[in-house]
């Protein structure tokens, strides 16, 4: 029996406020252990990658990682699409972190290690996982830091504008290279969720299950506004040099750090920040208040996020990726502005998960996608998770997200006809 009144149950208790994270060590039976990234050249001058905007990219090198074993019939493949600042290193411990200079990986496993591993919600004993670093990023896939063959120097802002559509085209090319025709599932959160949606629209016959977390068919105006401020911070940093700062010994670190600090506010929620930091002072600052230094705990947190981010991320990459996030509009790409028309292409079983306090991709902004799918007679699983963790909830609410992922991935459709309904024209 269903109650129609709103579920007012609060998910969070104060003890959850501080998440003291214990990482799964490489020798753990639930860790994928030590990992090595792979690189492949998917396009070259003879056979270039043409972007959605018609620009040429050659060569295109893609860094990717895989976990688990590919079934003989190749039916167990799950593609994970990473978010803005993510990379192909989803799970386990990077065995090559020292050689590649990615030293921050020495102290922490991949970004979704809580979810991906043996017996974890995305079980590497059952599925074969693939994750590729997106074009324009700075973790091994061709991006603005790469050498432009036309000049022999890093691209900088001469790098072509790339789109979510370009990323899923690259992902499809990678699957072709790996000999994988159909995905059992594609999974992504935030910008990764946009890729999951775009892949399912661009290649409807290549994906059986689509999981979209904390994302939507387009970024609402508020998100466009945040990204505009991020751009302003980076582009007005005196060390930006029009994006051609590579090799100058300078680098728009302050601008990128400010952009990241702002982004981190958008990843939390007001309530979540109050619970986590409140108006607490930094422990070591008690004796010298009344300055413009870092005094509140929340300032310290943001400052740390900003300064650690600039050590691992490239400012030009940040500009390219947030621009792709801005531009993404599934309705415009596939339905001449009509999301219902766009979704008529969709064939996968779909689970869309939103989080109650997410103000970057609020649940209400995702509803039009749910509605558009249902109006095409496509059965939809839509879940709104109660959480105070804001946008970050898709990474932080491990138990809830893990249960949903496990249930949706493992569930067998009661009948095949419910998987792919015949559409009425």
């Amino acid at each position: 029996m269903a109650s129609e009144t709103d579920n007012t149950k609060c998910a969070d208790s104060p003890k959850n406020a501080e998440i003291t994270h214990k990482y799964d060590p490489p020798e753990s039976s639930t860790s994928v252990g030590w990992t090595h990234a792979c690189q492949v050249t998917l396009a070259n001058e003879a056979n270039p990658f043409v972007t959605e905007n018609g620009e040429i990219l050659a060569p295109l090198v893609v860094e990717y990682e895989t976990y688990g074993e590919l079934a003989p019939d190749r039916s167990n493949v799950i593609l994970i699409a990473h978010a803005l600042s993510g990379d192909a290193h989803v799970a386990g411990w990077d065995a090559d972190a020292l050689q590649t200079g990615r030293t921050w990986r020495l102290t922490r496993p991949g970004w979704w290690d809580d979810i991906v591993g043996p017996d974890k919600p995305m079980d590497t004993k059952k599925y074969f996982f693939v994750c590729a670093n997106i074009i324009g990023s700075c973790y091994g896939t061709t991006g603005p830091e790469s050498i432009n063959p036309a000049t022999g120097k890093p691209y900088g802002l001469d790098f072509p504008i790339v789109t979510v559509g370009d990323w899923v085209k690259m992902e499809a090319m990678l699957l072709d290279y790996l000999g994988i025709e159909t995905l059992y599932a594609i999974v992504g959160g935030s910008l990764g969720g946009q890729q999951a949606l775009e892949f399912s629209l661009a290649y409807p016959d290549r994906v059986k299950k689509c999981i979209i977390l904390a994302s939507g068919p387009k970024l609402p105006a508020q998100g466009l506004g945040f990204n505009a401020v991020a751009r302003y911070c980076i582009q007005n940093d005196p060390q930006f040099h029009g994006g051609n700062y590579y090799g100058t010994g300078e680098n728009p670190q302050s601008g990128l750090a400010a952009a990241r600090m702002l982004a981190h506010i958008t990843y939390l929620s007001g309530k979540g920040m109050d619970t986590k930091f409140g108006r607490r002072w930094q422990e070591d600052i008690k004796t010298r208040r009344k300055s413009f230094g870092i005094e509140f705990a929340v300032e310290s947190y943001l400052n740390h996020q900003g300064s650690s981010f600039v050590k691992r991320f490239d400012a030009d990459s940040y500009l390219y990726i947030i621009r792709a996030m801005d531009y993404y509009d599934a309705a415009a790409s596939w339905g001449d502005g009509d999301l219902v028309k766009a979704c008529s292409r969709f064939k996968a079983q779909v689970m869309i998960v939103t989080f109650s306090s997410d103000w970057l991709y609020p649940p209400e902004e995702c509803k039009p996608l749910v509605t558009a799918l249902m109006r095409n007679k496509i059965p939809v699983t839509y879940v709104k998770v109660e959480s105070s963790y804001g946008h970050d909830a898709f990474l932080v609410e491990v138990d809830k997200v893990g249960r949903l992922l496990r249930a949706f991935l493992h569930s067998q459709e009661p009948d095949d006809s419910a998987v792919q309904p015949t559409k009425e024209k």
Binding site: D6, V380, R403, L404, H410
Partner: protein
């Protein structure tokens, strides 16, 4: 009946009670009902075994045509939809507001929309589904009229089941016992019940005529058996614990 202490004043006789309900000694139901009422009065007990949950499912299943589309509003753990997907090859969609029940649907492979029923209905196209089901949920709705109206808009056929608030045990509990009824069909106290909009079969029929709804078929759960609902020669508004109506708009 509740466990509250029984009333100290003597209870009226069973015959009188039945006559007050409009059933006299010439009626075919009289003898059987009198025995039940007598026992109920003597024992102050709820004699009726609760209808098993999902008693409606086989009757809904029978009615759902193969390969049709079904939306179940307040689908709980997805039990009915899983059945219809399996045996009727129906394209199914659940709507459920309880997070735990939503998870159980996902585990069963039943697509489920996590929202309030009325909000979910507002997003749907006219006649988007062949069947809309509201199983034992009507009485929990904040806006039952809106939901029923929306169901008639989004589905060609509407299936509704609900507990009959005019069952004789309920009438007796209130009129003689003087308390809000607590029965096997409605096992909650007044202060914690999710059932906030109760109606009788006759009330529901009144809505049907007001809403210009055609009754395609109907069943009632009477004393442990499911029988076709009949307006003539029976007292289903007194004897039926639960009712299942299959409806269509008249236009």
């Amino acid at each position: 009946m509740s466990n509250e202490p029984s009333s100290p004043s003597p209870l009226p006789g069973a015959d009188e009670f039945l006559r007050k309900l409009g059933i006299d000694s010439h009626d075919s139901d009289f003898t059987r009902l009198r025995d039940q009422v007598k026992r109920a009065i003597d024992l102050n007990l709820d004699l009726n075994a609760a209808a098993p949950s999902h008693w409606e499912d086989p009757y809904i299943e029978k009615f759902v045509t193969p390969n049709s589309s079904v939306i179940d509003l307040g689908c709980g753990n997805g039990q009915l939809l899983a059945l219809l997907a399996k045996t009727r090859h129906a394209v199914v969609q659940g709507v459920e507001n309880d997070e735990e029940a939503v998870l159980q649907c996902i585990e069963r492979g039943v697509p489920v929309y996590h929202d309030r029923i009325v909000k979910a209905l507002h997003t749907m196209n006219d006649k988007a589904y062949d069947f809309a089901v509201l199983e034992n949920t009507l009485q929990t709705l904040v806006y039952p009229y809106d939901v029923l109206t929306e169901m008639l808009r989004v589905a060609k056929t509407v299936i509704v089941s609900f507990p009959n608030f005019a069952h004789w045990t309920i009438r007796m509990a209130f009129s003689i016992g003087g308390r809000m009824p607590v029965t096997s069909a409605l096992p909650y106290s007044w202060y914690n019940t999710p059932n906030i909009h109760l109606c009788s079969i006759t009330d529901f029929q009144d809505w049907m005529s007001k809403a210009k709804v055609e009754m395609v078929d109907a069943y009632v759960y009477v004393e442990g058996k499911v029988v076709p609902f009949q307006t003539e020669g029976h007292h289903h508004n007194i004897t039926a614990e639960q009712a299942l109506f299959i409806l269509r708009s008249q236009e």
